[in-house]
Symmetry: C2
Subunit: 145 residues, 2 copies
């Protein structure tokens, strides 16, 4: 519905990495995928994208893995979504018109634009750290057992 599989895995992975960021050890792709129930190689590709976009940090070699800096933890969810789905995703027309505009709106525009704005607010107002904390405190989960 809202996100592609790519985006779902990307967010889940980033949140998991964030949730491990107190530890000194970096988090390996294997561990990540086990804990978010995502396909190993596919997820690795997504993390490459996020790393290139500086939303994650990584280190190769023994004891390497993924981690996040304090700066990265403060990034809002929307940064992840835009890195994966593209910047425009939150301004497109809900009915697929070439552009979303106030002057030539689709019949859904009035209501949809406000909902789209809610989504934008949700994603801007929540940091990766916020999500990680809800994991750490047992309030939320990244997979169902």
């Amino acid at each position: 519905m809202l996100f592609s599989k790519t985006c779902e895995y990307g967010i889940r992975a980033a949140v998991y990495i964030a949730s491990q960021s107190d530890k000194t050890e970096k988090t390996g792709i294997e561990e990540i995928c086990e804990n978010i129930e995502a396909p190993r190689h596919f997820t690795a590709k997504i993390l490459q994208i996020l790393t290139r976009n500086h939303l994650l940090s990584s280190q190769k070699g023994v004891n390497g893995g993924f981690y996040m800096t304090a700066e990265q933890l403060k990034q809002p969810m929307i940064a992840l979504v835009e890195a994966i789905e593209g910047k425009e995703v939150l301004s497109k027309c809900g009915l697929g018109l070439k552009a979303c505009s106030e002057t030539e709106p689709c019949p859904l525009h009035n209501k949809y634009a406000s909902i789209r704005n809610n989504i934008k607010q949700m994603l801007s107002g929540m940091t990766i750290k916020d999500m990680a904390v809800s994991l750490q405190t047992g309030k939320a989960f990244l997979k169902i057992d």
Copy 2:
């Protein structure tokens, strides 16, 4: 974002057909696709689905085409969406967990569930006729010229 192409075309086509439902003549697939800028054969398939689900009516042969009964015009948008995307689409987890649940929620659940509810309300509270009227009165458009 919200809908698949299939769903977008399906809604646009249905709304266009509805907007022509005052006329006595039925509306042909060619005319529909010109007016909503959608691919001819693909859209025809989508209309088949909607017709099988009794959300549209159709007639073959000379002077045939698509049309909607008064009953069908009163259907809410959500009926179209569910016919095309499936009934479950509006209750799935936003982060792709196997199930969306209050007891094992994903970190997005709190905010997402409320947005998803807004979407549901938007789609339940607006009939196909409502959308068609906004077209007819020039307040909305199904393609950009």
